[in-house]
């Protein structure tokens, strides 16, 4: 279904958005726009302010300052109207353990004032969409982690949202379950649903996001399409050298190549590294070296640093 031009406006617009908890500025003045029909990613280490940002978008926590509009509505004044049109998969599996799979969807539909007959139809649809129709009468605690995540996704779709928010949708899942969730999200994206995704899996962001921001310490560091960001901040190719010798370090420095020294490993970034790679692999490569495509993970680690966040 094509949307008319009047509906094509920005889905989320944040300007100088701030969220403080006491002295802590969890979100420290971020501005961004989410365009309709795109998947917008928010990447960042733990504590970067991703979850605090999206909680303001769906109206869970009030904004401290700045401006935040969703569907052109002010979230502070029109929280219910905004929430009515958003589907949210929160980080924790907060399915209702006192209810069955189908009841989880039916009870949730009531929160949106969806009539029960309509809710039953939608619940059936949603359950076949996530391939859980055969488990509709199971208790939630009998489901596997991947099934629970899919059910959380189905629950977030019960109000036929115009914006789907996924807060770390695949954390803790095995690769099979993760790919199943990705498949479902991909299909929704193809149907034209606008999605906001937070994650710290770079692979997930590369696979799903049209645009993304990398956040740290409550601020946005960079914004762009994944491929753009990789080209701009890591180049096309990366040479990874294990146990580098000091002569190599000197060589790289002489050539003026962008690099990162991790002690036991050296990363050399660049656009056109083929020649350099041959030189390095012939002359300096005793521990082993690899030429590979630059990834979002390179960008992420370069921008947010390598120290542990605990």
């Amino acid at each position: 279904m094509r949307t008319s031009p009047s509906e094509q406006r920005v889905v989320v617009e944040a300007v100088d958005l701030v969220k403080s908890f006491g002295d802590l500025r969890a979100v420290d003045g971020v501005s961004f726009r989410v365009e309709p029909g795109l998947c917008f990613g928010m990447l960042g280490p733990n504590g970067a302010g991703k979850t605090s940002t999206i909680r303001m978008i769906y109206g869970y926590s009030p904004i401290t300052s700045g401006r935040l509009e969703v569907f052109g509505l002010d979230v502070t004044g029109q929280r219910r109207a905004v929430a009515q049109r958003i589907g949210v998969c929160q980080q924790e599996n907060n399915l209702d353990p006192d209810l069955t799979v189908a009841e989880n969807l039916m009870v949730f539909a009531r929160y949106f004032d969806i009539p029960q007959a309509e809710a039953a139809t939608r619940a059936d649809e949603a359950l076949s969409f996530i391939a859980l129709a055969h488990r509709r009468d199971s208790g939630v605690s009998e489901l596997s982690g991947g099934m629970m995540r899919r059910l959380v996704l189905a629950r977030a779709l019960i109000n036929r949202p115009d914006l789907l928010i996924l807060d770390e949708p695949t954390t803790g899942l095995d690769p099979q379950a993760r790919h199943q969730v990705w498949d479902r999200v991909d299909e929704l994206r193809e149907r034209g649903l606008t999605v906001i995704l937070t994650t710290h899996y770079m692979e997930e962001a590369e696979q799903l996001c049209d645009r993304l921001v990398i956040m740290d310490h409550g601020r946005i560091l960079v914004e762009g399409a994944p491929t753009e960001l990789i080209r701009e901040h890591a180049g096309r190719l990366v040479i990874e050298i294990t146990s580098p010798r000091d002569e190599l370090r000197a060589y790289v420095r002489d050539k003026g190549l962008p690099f990162e020294d991790l002690g036991h490993r050296l990363l050399v970034y660049g656009d056109d590294n083929d020649a350099v790679f041959h030189r390095i692999s012939e002359d300096y490569c005793d521990g082993g070296c690899v030429l590979r495509m630059a990834t979002l993970e390179d960008v992420f680690l370069k921008l947010t640093g390598r120290e542990l966040r605990e």
Partner: protein
């Protein structure tokens, strides 16, 4: 003004109440037999056993048997306990362990809807429990009708009062183990000293005044009057106390939950 005190309450609190009803309707049969049998056990133990020692009591110039004296008190205690335990242990589990409230707050429901729905549900539990007790006690001929039927709406009011108090503790206490504290300091003293098992007049004067500060005292007095079939004007004072207590504690509970969940 009201909105500043209690937040943005809408008709949608019913959705939260319905959620709890849906869960209850799956499990109520398990709890049915105990709810009917327990009051009968109490009546037999206290009424027949202890009553034989006590004989009769003189209250307001009337002579009543001990069993008739404590039957309405047991109903009042049930009203208190059902709402208080629903809005402490059960609400805490939904809030803290099951994250049910978090999920609700990602929908058009407001925090005020969620907390109101929980408290109204606690009060509903009180009304259901009181009704079952009336059913169980009626065959003993201890209740005057039709005035005893008013115990059901009274149970709802008392439920909102004690549920709001419970919800305040849920907003304040960091772990579920700590609910022992309000049970020990708040519920147990009321259970014993609110004119439940012996008339308030048996207490020293200062303790009688202290007992008047306890909400259960007022709930017991109204329940007793209703089951005795003696509706007197002074009951309006008891009723006003319960309403006043609720009007004060409900916004306090809401405020604590707001700090706890949203900050």
């Amino acid at each position: 003004m009201i909105r500043r005190l209690v937040g943005d309450i809408s008709y949608r609190f019913i959705r939260v109440w319905q959620r709890n009803l849906t869960v209850f309707s799956k499990t109520w049969k398990v709890g049915l037999a105990p709810s009917l049998l327990e009051p009968v056990l109490y009546l037999v133990a206290f009424g027949a056993g202890l009553g034989a020692l006590v004989g009769t009591l003189h209250i307001d110039g009337r002579t009543v048997s001990y069993i008739r004296f404590i039957a309405p008190a047991l109903v009042a205690v049930t009203i208190m306990q059902n709402a208080f335990f629903e809005n402490t242990y059960s609400s805490f589990v939904r809030m803290y362990y099951q994250k049910t409230f978090d999920a609700m707050l990602a929908t058009p429901l407001s925090l005020a809807d969620v907390i109101t729905g929980e408290i109204v549900w606690g009060a509903t539990r009180s009304a259901i429990a009181a009704t079952l007790m009336l059913v169980a006690i009626t065959p003993f001929g201890l209740l005057s009708y039709p005035s005893s039927l008013l115990v059901i709406p009274l149970a709802f009011l008392g439920g909102v009062a004690f549920g709001s108090a419970g919800m305040w503790f849920t907003g304040v206490l960091p772990t579920i183990d700590m609910f022992n504290l309000p049970v020990f300091l708040f519920i147990t003293p009321m259970f014993l000293f609110s004119g439940t098992f012996f008339p308030l007049q048996n207490l020293p004067q200062w303790a009688q005044y202290a007992a008047l500060a306890l909400p259960l005292t007022h709930l017991v007095q109204i329940t007793r009057a209703l089951t005795f079939g003696r509706l007197e004007p002074h009951l309006l004072w008891n009723l006003a106390y319960l309403v006043g207590f609720t009007v004060m504690v409900f916004p306090l509970a809401m405020g604590r939950m707001r700090v706890r969940l949203i900050a």
